[in-house]
Each structure stands twice: as C-alpha cells, then as structure tokens.
C-alpha cells in the first residue's frame, strides 16, 4: 500500500515537472501580448500587429541568414546603408550621404549618428567587420557581395584571396569607403539586402557561438527591437525609441506566431488572434467573397525549361508551339486558384519599374501568347523540319501537389492542342529535380525562380552561357554580350533598354523557355491594418510604415 502512494506521488511530480518544461509562450502573461489589433486602450487604438510565420527563424545572424523569415525579422530590427521603401525602391537609410568618384567605382558613405540597442554608436567599422565576416564565414548569400561588384569578393569566394582584402574600409568613425571592381548600376539596389547589414564586433565576439540564437543575443538598430523569441513558437518586437526615424513608426508592438498548418492559420484569423493569413487553394473558395480577401502578387515565377541539346526541343518552332499551346488562364484560375497569375515573360509583373516609372512587363508586353491554331501552325512547320510525325518527350517535376497539378494540366493541354505530341511525367523529390536539372538530363523541366534583389537583372543574367542557373545549355552570344554591357552601363535609361532587349532575345527570338505563371498569395488581411508593405525579394515585409486604423 505504501508503495502505491509513492508511485502516485512520483507520477504526479513527474507530470508537474513536464508541465514546467513546456515553455509556454510568455506573451500570454503580459497584457499587451494578447491584445487584438485595434483593441482600445484608454480611448486610443492599440498599435499592435499580430502576424504568423510558417516556420521558426533558422538564424538571425545577418551574415549567415538565408531565408525570407529571417530576412523579415532583420529588415525590421536592423538597418543598413539603404532600405527598401514603400514602392520597393532602395533608398538611403543609415547612409546620410552617398558620394562617388568620377568613374563610379569608389563610393563614400557618411553614416548617420545612431546607436545600437546596447548604447554603442553604429560606426563605419561595423559595416567593414560584418561584410568581411560574410566572406570569412562563407555565409549563404556571400555571392550577393560579389554581385554588388565589391572589389575582390569574387576572388575571396573562390578561395584565391583572404577575406581581409575585401574592398571595404572604414576611413573614419562615420565614413565608409567601398571600392567596386567596375561601375555597377545594381550596387544601390543590393545595399538594402540583409547580407549588407552592419554588426557590432565587440558584441558579436562577446556572444561567441551563442550570437543571434536568442532575443537577448542580438542588437537592434532599426525601427523595432526584438524583445522575445521562443523556439518554434514565435517572437515579439517593440518599437525602438532610439531609431533615428522613430517618429514615423506608428506600431508599438508586433507579435509573430509560428503557425505551420495553413488551415489552423485561417482558424486563428477567424478568432482574431492574427491579422493576416495566407490561404491555400483549398480554402480560397470558402473565403473569396469575404471583404478582407485579396490576391497579392508574389515575385516568384514558374516556367518550363527546354533542354537545348535535345534534337527535338532544339527546334525553335517546337518551342514556340509548346509556348502557345498552353492556356495560362485555365491554369491559374481553374487549377491553381491560389492568387497566381498568367505570365508571358521571365520578369515578374508589378515589382520592377523603369527610370520613368513604367512597369517592366507593361513595356515588354506578352511574348509567345497565342491560340491553339497558331500553336498548330508552328507545330506543323516544326514536324516538317524534323521529318517526324510524332514527338515523345518527358517532363521533370518535383513531386509536390502544386507541381503535379501543373504537370497534369500541361500534359492535357499539349497532347490536345499539338497532334502527335506525347508527354510523360516524371515526378521526383525536389532535390532530385534540381540535380537532374543541373546535369541537364531531362527534356522539359518544370522550374521555379525567385529574385535575389529588386531589379529585372536577377531574372535575366542567369541565361548567359556557363551560369550555374542556366541548367539547360542555352546559349545566345547576343544575349551574353548584352548582359555584360548592361552590368557596366551607368546610364540608367540605356541600361533599362538593354534589360528589355535581353528578354526579347530570350523569348521573342529564341522562345528559350516557356513562362507559365507568376506566383501569388490569396490573403486575408484585417481591414484595420494599413500601410503594411510587401516586398518582392529579400525581406518580404516592412512594418515600419504600418499602423492600425481606428
């Protein structure tokens, strides 16, 4: 009998211990945490924004960060020389002044008088330290520094030079000098990317291998500061009163909860726990008439790669026929229904603008948009040239639900519209799809691409010969020459013309790929939330200008 009591007690103690080990999110305990946006506090609307993220932050170390979730946090708690503004333009932020020499290869920045959240001033040396650290640590996005054209970055990446030789130098407390290999019109745009953020050397070294793993182990110098971060549960930000532009920041608090299941996200939205949720296509029908429902364009694109070594696909008329035989509207409106939109180019719509503010897509228009009849004309011509009556090719796809749906649609469209065309679907895991693509061992491949920075070039220079993202042995010397010329062209008008021409060569002349759709999100957004800015690349959100309307 005595034994039994003991057992009971032990069991109870164990259970209590486990409950203590559960790490409940502390936000519940503080009053603010549970505030729904727009709740009134002393007659004023609480400036609290509640959001969700599909996963935890892998790392907040800006030199190693590699995903949109981390970029989002960094973009809102830190600030670099430049920042993306409300219309996705890269504008000076910590850089008070930005001067350059005549040939635009030496850039001198004067840095604003601001402090880190521990009180230390943000200095030019912090930038030098952080950029060199990216190269030293082989950060996932170190190639961005090479893309920006910073002197010696390429050589350091290839292990030919030491990271210390990177072309960046703090010439004073507040003056930073960056040397480029050659003039680079993209430089400014890239500076708003997380990889270019400063870091406080003393703090980073003090934290050692614990740096950026907890909310206390990272310093803020941006619009918000991170006040808590619980693994797999979420994080909280508060307005940073020491931020130089803090008068323009209206939100007091931002809570982000990790919600991995989309339908749970919708349920949390229903109960007012979160203010914005992305819907999967299964949920779209249920909400599409809701007044808070909206379709938001994303910058990612989905397209078909052709293997340019394939005897059939080598023929430009075959590629044009395939391009024209696919009804994109049916694909996005009937099959996907997730906010995706038809795409007839490789540069996404509504994110990239010419110097006189015209959308890239509007300027270049649609390529290879045709009717099944037009497709058949090209098809007959192609078959005659090939001397074949039938063509059988396979398509390499990742085995996700989305890709399978798309592939089946393509199969039906192509086989219906092109007599004698047979398409075999080969679904493999994502990583395998990529390896097959890199080895160019496919006929057609259903591919995706997302931009690295806010400029059309991020969709265009991948098609030069030998680029690691070409992956289809496509080569047109004219395109290669134009990319090289555009990289060095500092006259922005001329450069933009070149960017437009590159796409024309790729699609109008060569029909080298078949663009299918631009990704989109079907979103529910609390109507009280205003000014939340969505970006095409890097961090996908800025909270700086957001506020809750009364």
């Amino acid at each position: 009998m005595k034994n039994k009591k003991w057992f009971g007690l032990l069991f109870f103690a164990m259970f209590a211990l486990l409950l203590a080990g559960c790490n409940f999110n502390s936000s519940e305990k503080s009053d603010d945490g549970t505030k729904k946006s727009g709740d009134e506090k002393d007659g004023e609307v609480a400036q609290v924004l509640n959001l969700s993220a599909p996963a935890d932050v892998p790392t907040l170390d800006s030199t190693k960060a590699h995903d949109a979730i981390a970029f989002n946090v960094l973009n809102n708690v830190n600030e670099g020389l430049y920042r993306q503004d409300e219309s996705n333009k890269s504008v000076p932020a910590l850089a008070e002044k930005h001067e350059m020499n005549d040939d635009k290869t030496v850039h001198t920045f004067t840095i604003r008088d601001t402090t880190w959240s521990n009180g230390d001033p943000v200095t030019a040396a912090d930038f030098e330290y952080a950029w060199k650290r990216v190269m030293k640590e082989n950060g996932a996005y170190n190639y961005m520094i090479a893309t920006a054209g910073v002197k010696n970055a390429e050589a350091i990446m290839n292990g030919e030079m030491d990271a210390e030789e990177l072309g960046i130098k703090a010439t004073g407390d507040n003056t930073l000098e960056v040397t480029l290999e050659s003039p680079n019109p993209l430089f400014k745009t890239l500076l708003s990317f997380a990889t270019f953020l400063p870091q406080n050397q003393k703090f980073v070294e003090e934290m050692g291998d614990q740096y950026a793993l907890e909310a206390e182990n990272i310093l803020a110098n941006g619009p918000f500061k991170l006040v808590s971060w619980t693994q797999e549960q979420g994080w909280e930000m508060e307005k940073n009163e020491d931020y130089w532009d803090t008068d323009n920041v209206k939100l007091e608090k931002v809570n982000v909860f990790v919600v991995k299941d989309p339908s749970s996200g919708a349920n949390l939205y229903e109960t007012g726990k979160i203010d914005r949720v992305k819907l999967t296509s299964a949920l779209v029908d249920q909400y599409k008439d809701d007044k808070e429902f909206e379709n938001v364009k994303d910058s990612g694109i989905v397209f078909l790669r052709f293997n340019h070594n394939n005897p059939v696909l080598k023929n430009v008329n075959v590629r044009k026929a395939i391009n024209m035989a696919i009804d994109r509207n049916g694909l996005t409106d009937v099959i996907l229904k997730d906010g995706s939109t038809p795409l007839y180019g490789v540069v996404a719509e509504s994110f990239y603008f010419s110097p006189d503010d015209k959308d890239y897509r509007e300027l270049n228009g649609d390529f290879n948009k045709g009717t099944p009849e037009e497709a058949q004309e090209y098809w007959e011509k192609a078959l005659a040239e090939l001397g074949q009556k039938e063509v059988e090719v396979s398509i390499n796809i990742a085995d996700s639900d989305e890709m399978k749906k798309v592939a089946e649609y393509l199969q039906a469209q192509l086989e219906d519209n092109l007599p004698g065309f047979k398409l075999e679907i080969k679904a493999v895991p994502f990583a395998q799809r990529l390896e097959i693509e890199k080895a160019v061992e496919y006929d057609l491949s259903l591919s995706t691409w997302g931009p690295d920075y806010s400029d059309p070039m991020t969709y265009l220079d991948m098609w030069v010969k030998g680029s690691s993202a070409n992956r289809m042995d496509y080569h047109n010397p004219k395109l290669d020459a134009l990319v090289v010329a555009a990289r060095g062209e500092t006259d922005l008008e001329k450069r933009y013309e070149m960017l437009l021409d590159i796409e024309k060569i790729l699609l109008e002349e060569d029909a080298a790929v078949a663009p299918l759709y631009q990704r989109g999100s079907a979103v529910l957004l609390n109507e009280k939330v205003k000014g939340l800015v969505i970006h095409p690349s890097g961090a996908d959100m800025s909270y700086k200008w957001a506020y809750i309307e009364e």
Binding site: C22, F24, T59, E232, D261, N267, L434
Partner: protein
C-alpha cells in the same frame, strides 16, 4: 531478474547501434544537399561548403566520425538552424511533445476504462452498443481529422479552448484530446472483452457466493484482473501516440519534436535526422522494456528465468 535486465539493456544498445548505422547509410542515398537555398548554389560554392562540413569524405569515414562523436555524447550541429546543437534542439522540443502525449495517455486510459467497464456491465444494452460504436469510430477516424473538427467547433465556433498556439495549460487540452481518441477506443474495447471473460470465472462466482457486495466484487476481483492485460497495450499505444504527434503538433502549432522530425527529413538536415531518429528509437525500445518489467510485477505467473527467456 538482475541478469535479465542487464541482458535486455545489452540488446537495447545493440539494437540502437544497428538503427543508427542503417539510418546513416540510408540517408546517404537521399538526393540533394543539407545546405539552404540549393537553387542558387553554384558548383564551386557547393564544393567549398562540402569541404567545410566534411561531406566531401567517403561515407565510411563520415560514419566513423559520427559514431566517434556520438560515443562522446556529441550529436553535432543542425544545418538548417545554423549554430544550434542537435542536443539543445531535442531538449527544447521534447517537453511539449511528452506532455501532450502523456496527457493523452492518461485521458485515454481513464475514459476508455469507464466506457469499457460500463459496456461490460450493461452487456447487450443500448449503453453497450453505444460505447462499442464510439470505440469503432475512434479506431477508424484518423486523429488528424478529429483534430481539425475539434479545432473548428471547440476553438472557432464555441471559443471554449484556444484554436492553436502554445500559450498556457489550456493550449495543451485540444491536442491531447485529439491524440487520446485512439487510446480511448483501444482501451475500451480491450477492457470490455477482458471484463466479460473475467465475469464468467469461477472465483467471481465464489466471491459473490461469499456474500460480497456487487461493488466490491466488481472493483476487487473483476476490474483488477481485467486490468492486467491492458498494461501490455500501453506499449503499442505509447508508440501510436508518438507517431500521432507528428501531425497533431503541426495542426495545433505545438512547438514539439514531431514536426521538427518531418521537416528535417524534407530539408535533409543530416545531423537532426540522425539525432531525432536515435532519440525516438531509444524511447521506443525503453517503453517496450518498461512494459515487460511492469507486466512481470503485476502477473506473478510470469517469471524471468536465468536464461533470460520470458
């Protein structure tokens, strides 16, 4: 008894070793790299990274290195969550998983027992049929369907309990209830048939003829004896709960280990896959072992002989 336990422990270590070895080499067959943004990595970058993490070495060398580290208690660093050790990741996440699992086991056993006992005592009545139907439903509806229904009706419509997230004790209730459905069904069905069998035994008749009250007969003689075989069910039930948590944790945003496991396989986070596999296998083997030992205590007919044969 002591010798038996030592021997079992020895076998447990060998089993774990085999699991680690198999997982390690099977993992090598998966395509891809553990590095993030593989779409953008160039070949030369990939080579530099592989060299940095020793992934350019032959699989055999990597294997011995892993085992060497493992023997020193070092599970390595995660690739996905750069800078975090696998050990700290497991420690941080195991609490919530264990809690909802254990709570589900307790809810399930208690409710299952009540249902089972009632339906056995009211054999062939409406009550019995009702309980049996419930049990069959519980067995056949997957826990994630049940979870989605609970979330919608209890969380969104009635607003009795939190929809998801992990904020207070209330947050643990819906996931535990969703997980306990299988347990309820299994325990209820099992206890019902055991009770029916025990009720017909001679010693029950004897107890009754001694003039013992009906309640005493049921509690002291029937339920107690019917309980013994239920203990054997707890092992497999614990396992079904462990696998059930993989989905339940995702639905209710529980910061547990299960969801991490699936994710690590998808992104090929080598060290995390190994670490969690090892942890789950060790737990499973230990639970089975524990059930065997407890069974021996409860049923004196079972003897652990010198040879270690049960």
């Amino acid at each position: 008894m002591k010798r038996y336990i030592v021997k079992r422990l020895g076998f447990m270590v060998i089993t774990l070793f085999i699991i680690v070895t198999l997982t390690f080499f099977l993992m090598q067959l998966l395509p891809g790299t553990p590095f993030t943004n593989p779409e953008k990595l160039s070949d030369s970058q990939l080579q530099i990274l592989n060299a940095k993490y020793g992934l350019d070495q032959p699989a055999a060398i990597q294997y011995f290195r892993y085992i060497g580290n493992l023997l020193q208690g070092d599970l390595g660093y995660s690739f996905q969550y750069e800078g975090r050790t696998v050990k700290s990741m497991i420690i941080d996440r195991v609490g919530p998983s264990a809690f909802i699992g254990l709570q589900a086991l307790i809810f399930g056993t208690i409710i299952g027992l009540v249902l089972g006992i009632v339906s056995a005592l009211k054999h062939n009545t409406i009550l019995d049929y009702g309980a049996v139907t419930l049990a069959v439903l519980g067995m056949s509806i997957p826990s994630f369907v049940f979870a989605a229904l609970l979330q919608y009706y209890i969380g969104v419509k009635l607003e009795w309990l939190p929809v998801a997230l992990w904020e207070s004790y209330e947050s643990t209730l819906l996931p535990s209830i969703a997980l306990s459905v299988t347990v309820i069904a299994t325990v209820a069905r099992f206890i019902r048939s055991e009770m029916l069998e025990v009720l017909g035994q001679d010693y029950v008749t004897t107890a009754r003829s001694k003039g013992l009250g009906e309640a005493a007969v049921i509690i002291k003689h029937v339920v107690r004896n019917a309980l013994i075989p239920v203990v054997t069910m707890l092992g497999p039930l614990a396992v079904s709960i462990m696998t059930g948590t993989l989905v339940i944790e995702k639905i209710f945003s529980v910061p547990g280990l299960g969801e991490q496991f699936t994710l690590s396989i998808l992104v090929l986070d080598y060290s995390v896959i190994m670490g969690i596999t090892l942890f789950y296998s060790a737990l499973f083997i230990f639970v089975v072992f524990l059930v065997d030992i407890i069974y021996g205590f409860l049923d004196p007919r079972i003897e652990y002989k010198e040879g270690g044969q049960v």
